[in-house]
Structure formats: C-alpha cells, structure tokens
C-alpha cells in the first residue's frame, strides 16, 4: 500500500514529512463522530489519513435544523486550515460519515517547527495557499452558477 500523499506537504522530502507527521497524533473517528464544532477555537489542523470527512453547515430545512453538506475531504486532504489562519476559529463543522483516521497537528508544534525550518514553513504556506485557493475558486464558480440561475428565473 503506497503512503498517503498529503496535499499540505507536497514538494517536501519524505524525511521532512515524517518529522512533521511525528508532531501530531493519529486519531480514529467512528462513523458519525464529530471532529470539528462550528465556531470552536481552531487549535489543530487535520490531515485525512484514510476515510472521509464531511464539512457541513447548519441550515433550516422545513423548520428543523439540519447539517447540510458543503464539502467532502478524503485521504491526503487537509481539514481545518483555520488553525493556521487568524482568527483561528473554525467556520465549518466536520464529521466522519465512515470510520476515518486523521492526523491532528497542533498549531504551536507546527509554528515551532516552521520557526526552526523557515524553508519548510514557506513550502507548507504555499501548499496551504493552494488548498485555500482551490476552495475559493470552487465556491466562486458555484456561487456564479447560482446567481446565473437566479437571474434566469427572475427574467422568465
């Protein structure tokens, strides 16, 4: 079985990746278990080792509160990058729809490591910008599709 390629550590040598993974701890989530609570302080960043994490937001559906799927993250992808961007507060909820393993990386440990290895910190920052940028572009396109449909409906 090939090792998981983490999007946050792309372009880094394996030994660096191993050292950074060793800063965190592996956590197994059972099906339906919550990983991130909306609005909670973001102290840890998560890498999905295997399984799936659903990012959701609460929504009123027929007068009832329901958690609606916003995004799905699978093996190798990053969850909870709010831990590396001020104001360090989660803006989505996250839970595991199936048994899932994540690696939880505490912010202080990562910051200490980056302070001692600025070139690694720079590479990880670029990868993080790519992760954030992909979500921005994705939601920008989805938003535009929705606006186009709204205009089409109102003009009809």
């Amino acid at each position: 079985m090939s090792p998981v390629q983490y999007d946050l550590f792309q372009g880094l040598p394996n030994d660096c990746v191993e050292r950074m993974l060793a800063l965190g701890s592996r956590r197994t989530l059972h099906s339906g278990e919550q990983l991130i609570e909306l609005g909670a302080p973001a102290e840890e960043l998560y890498l999905v080792a295997h399984g799936q994490i659903n990012l959701t937001l609460p929504m009123q559906v027929r007068g009832q509160k329901a958690d609606v799927l916003v995004e799905e993250r699978t093996g190798g992808q990053t969850v909870g990058w709010s831990a590396l961007t001020p104001p360090y507060q989660f803006t989505l909820q996250a839970s595991a729809p199936v048994e899932t393993e994540v690696i939880a990386l505490p912010r202080p440990a990562l910051e200490n490591y980056f302070a001692g290895h600025p070139e690694i910190g720079h590479r990880v920052s670029l990868n993080l910008a790519s992760v954030i940028g992909q979500r921005l572009q994705l939601f920008q396109a989805m938003w535009l599709r929705e606006v186009a449909r709204m205009i089409e409906m109102r003009a009809a």
């Binding site: 559906v61 027929r62 009832q64 329901a66 609606v68 799927l69 916003v70 995004e71 799905e72 992909q134 572009q137 994705l138 939601f139 396109a141 989805m142 535009l144 599709r145 186009a148 449909r149 409906m153 109102r154 009809a156």
Partner: protein
C-alpha cells in the same frame, strides 16, 4: 291669435331645450365612487409569482411535503455533489459553457 300662441309655445319649448342642453354641458362631472380595491389574497399572491414557461400564472406548485426530511437532505447532498463536480470541471478547463453546464439535480430542473 292661435298662431301667436303657437309661436310663443314653440319659443318657450325651444328655450327650455336649449337651457337643458347648456346645463348638461356645463355640469361638473361627479367623481365616480372610488372602489377601494382591496387585493384579494389569491390575486396578491398571483401578482408576486414570477411567470415562467410551462407554468400557468398564479399557480404555485404545492411543496411536496410528503417527501421525508431525510430524503430531502439526501437530495440536497446530491445537489451539492453535482454542483461541486460541475464547478470542478469548469476549474479544470475554464470556459463559459462549462461554467453554466446543466446538472441533473432536481433542485435546478
């Protein structure tokens, strides 16, 4: 004498008709009683409903309350996945056609 009386009678009659006609011409038109048209609830609702092709004006499709909320949430999840896939396709090869490509989601059809 008879001729004289007939002439006077015709003159008076003519004067009376002229006076009536003049009065009718200069009379101010009474405003018609204002109908306080209170919009009927159904009419008000119809006014706010945007018309669409293949949909008769003023007829709102009743929400399908028979669909269980779990099924509705599954439809919503499917919609999000389809929209994400469509947006991802656009990002892979950005062009206007892909940006506005249709999906099979029941929420947009």
């Amino acid at each position: 004498m008879e001729m004289l009386l007939m002439g006077i009678f015709i003159s008076i009659f003519g004067m009376a008709i002229a006076a009536a006609a003049f009065g009718a011409a200069v009379r101010r038109e009474e405003p018609a009683p204002q109908l306080q048209a209170q919009p009927q609830p159904a009419a008000a609702a119809a006014a706010t409903i945007p018309t669409r092709f293949f949909v008769q004006d003023g007829k709102i499709p009743a929400p399908n309350v028979s669909v269980p909320i779990e099924a509705l949430l599954l439809q919503l999840e499917r919609h999000v996945r389809l929209e994400t896939a469509a947006a991802t396709s656009f990002l892979a090869a950005p062009n206007s056609a892909l940006l506005h490509s249709k999906t099979t989601s029941p929420f947009v059809n």
